[in-house]
């Protein structure tokens, strides 16, 4: 390994640098300069995000512990970009007087989970995978309990840390079984030595279960609604997009490399999980009256749809998942952006408060409408193409009944997404949320999301590029 090769991990190196710089810079910005500090941190995250856009080389570092390539770089870009958007949306919440002092801690913890996700996605060794997972989880529990004078926030923190510990334990047990069979912790070696014995199936099921907690697939979803409701809204959107996305990505990589030979076993497993996840997610979403809980269940249902792409173990399947995550990021963050703006301005988080919102804040309602259409999958917007490709991926494997159930569920989801739109546009209220102007970072983030929703839907090149990149997972590296 030569010195220049270390720049293969530039994403993580830059993030570590950013964390340390923020840690030190936090001391030098006084109480009246917190806004500058906020912009300074955003700028650092922006640099990291832009650095990811340069062409990425493939390679192994540290004897195969760390592996990277265009696909991993793309996944990290999506995560970095979502983090940037979430931070842009958070100024409304940060600007409250008692939060201003603590911007630094929030940024540091959020970025260190991003480092963990980077190492997790690039891991070529179960130890790195596990460490990345822990680094991506433990700080989140502290962030969930960030509003410690709010008992719901403390509850969210406790629930998150207990379930994280539990799921880590399950994953560790699975890893130990795989190690017992193969005698190696490297993905590459383990993948060649897995023989399809019952023990390796148990290992697969345990690792899959542990990751399902992170992705919040049913029946491992019970933490999601409470944690989403209790956490500060910036963290809620982070959990539902970045944290979930990273777990989906590593699941894709682990299934298609280590467990590639057990494909016959994980296919039916995912098949059943998909059906119950979309159905339960959708049915519970209809009943929710709190917008954060609503989005929690909607994101559970979306996770079920994502698994439709995972079930197809080819470059096309991987590409559909990565593409859908990109689209999902834009749509979900647009929705969370609007919710966050309203919550920071008025503190209202119930769906009933949104009545007559169009009359007072037409622009924000339009953004919300686009986001809901995209999440539901209405044609001209990117969400349609995302779902369409996922359905194609599952149909290609011959799972027509599964696709039929998924399409029926899309109709149910359309119902509850339209309910939100109806509440905002048609229903009248005596006390609608008054008109307010969003701050500049929020406006920028919403414009990016709307443009993203439209552009990724209309440019076919994006998807072709992803198929091309996903090929490397199946060819040159393994």
């Amino acid at each position: 390994m030569s010195f220049s090769e270390i720049f293969l991990m530039r994403n993580e190196l830059l993030l570590v640098t950013a964390v340390l710089v923020i840690l030190i810079a936090d001391l030098s910005f006084d109480a009246d300069k917190r806004k500058q500090f906020y912009y300074f941190s955003i700028f650092l995250v922006f640099i990291v995000t832009v650095s990811g856009l340069f062409p990425a080389k493939s390679g192994l570092l540290f004897g195969g512990m760390y592996q990277t390539g265009p696909l991993q770089a793309m996944m990290k870009n999506i995560l970095n970009f979502s983090t940037l958007i979430i931070l842009l949306q958070s100024w409304g919440w940060f600007s409250h007087v008692n939060q201003q002092k603590r911007i630094g801690e929030f940024m540091i913890l959020l970025l260190s989970t991003l480092i963990g996700m980077g190492y997790m996605i690039s891991s070529g060794h179960f130890l790195m995978f596990y460490l990345g997972l822990e680094l991506a989880t433990i700080p989140l529990a502290a962030l969930a309990a960030y509003d410690y004078y709010n008992s719901k926030s403390a509850e969210a923190g406790i629930k998150l840390i207990l379930l994280a510990a539990f799921s880590s334990g399950i994953i560790l047990f699975g890893i130990s079984l795989i190690y017992a069979i193969t005698g190696t912790m490297y993905f590459e070696g383990a993948g060649q030595l897995i023989d399809g014995s019952t023990l390796s199936v148990l290992g697969l099921v345990l690792i899959f279960t542990g990751l399902s907690f992170k992705i919040s697939l049913v029946p491992f979803h019970l933490w999601a609604a409470d944690v989403y409701e209790g956490s500060p809204i910036a963290l809620t959107s982070y959990l539902s997009v970045v944290s979930k996305g990273s777990a989906v990505f590593i699941l894709l990589i682990v299934l298609n490399t280590v467990f590639a030979s057990l494909n016959d076993i994980w296919d039916p497993l995912i098949y059943i999980i998909i059906i119950i996840t979309i159905t339960v997610g959708n049915l519970f979403a209809i009943r929710q009256r709190n917008i954060k809980r609503f989005l929690a269940f909607s994101s559970i249902a979306q996770a079920g749809f994502i698994m439709l792409g995972v079930i197809n173990n080819s470059a096309f399947g991987v590409a559909t998942v990565v593409y859908f995550m990109l689209v999902y990021m834009f749509s979900n963050l647009a929705a969370f952006g609007v919710v966050s703006a309203i919550s920071a301005e008025t503190g209202k988080e119930s769906i009933d408060d949104y009545k007559g919102f169009y009359g007072t804040n037409p622009k924000l309602s339009l953004v919300m409408m686009l986001a809901m259409f995209s999440l539901a999958g209405i044609p001209p917007i990117a969400g349609f193409f995302g779902k369409f490709f996922l359905f194609t991926a599952a149909a290609e494997k011959g799972y027509y009944i599964l696709v039929l159930i998924a399409v029926l569920n899309t109709i149910i989801s359309l119902y509850y997404y339209l309910l939100i739109i109806k509440t905002m546009f048609i229903e009248k209220s005596d006390t609608p949320i008054p008109f307010f102007k969003s701050n500049l970072p929020m406006k920028i983030s919403l414009v990016i999301c709307v443009l993203g929703m439209v552009i990724t839907g209309f440019t076919s090149g994006v998807f072709d590029y992803m198929v091309e990149m996903s090929d490397q997972l199946f060819s040159d590296m393994y």
Binding site: H125, L135, T198
Partner: protein
């Protein structure tokens, strides 16, 4: 004997209604694990287990229990139904895992050097080639930094906002 010690005290530790007693039972569980390492000839690991876990972590547990709760305080009694469900789930889980592991034929491993020296562990830990562990070592340091900051964020009390 070691596994009997671990099993009995692990069950006592999770069923005890007094926090301090649970922590002491945990101590015996950790001693049992140290015995495992000794049986396997991992002298260094056994020593680390005793020093770090028993000397450090359990003592920390006891400190934090004494600081945060009163000694006479008892944990809630588990409802019978919950107890039965939890016991069933863990028994089924243990049964599945045991039956699968016991029926699996493991490949014999050639044990060339039973004693791994501290010198070898040290060079492995800082080697960056294949089977070297310098990257996880460094990532753990980031993890610890994040965990420390996270602990401070939760523990630091400020006065309640007026609103």
């Amino acid at each position: 004997m070691g596994s009997a010690l671990v099993l009995i005290f692990a069950i006592m530790s999770v069923t005890s209604r007094k926090l301090l007693r649970a922590a002491i039972y945990l101590l015996f569980v950790l001693i049992g694990v140290a015995i495992f390492y000794l049986v396997l000839d991992y002298m260094f690991l056994a020593a680390v287990q005793i020093v770090v876990y028993m000397g450090g972590i359990v003592v920390l547990f006891i400190f934090s229990i004494l600081l945060t709760s009163h000694l006479s305080e008892k944990l809630q009694v588990v409802k019978p139904l919950e107890f039965i469900i939890a016991a069933l789930v863990s028994l089924i889980g243990a049964g599945v895992a045991l039956s699968v592991i016991s029926t699996h034929t493991f490949k014999p491993v050639v044990a060339d050097s039973p004693e791994i020296t501290v010198f070898e562990i040290g060079t492995q830990l800082l080697s960056y080639g294949k089977y070297g562990y310098v990257l996880p070592f460094e990532v753990i340091s980031v993890l610890l930094l994040a965990a420390m900051i996270a602990a401070i964020v939760i523990a630091k009390r400020e006065k309640k906002p007026e609103s």
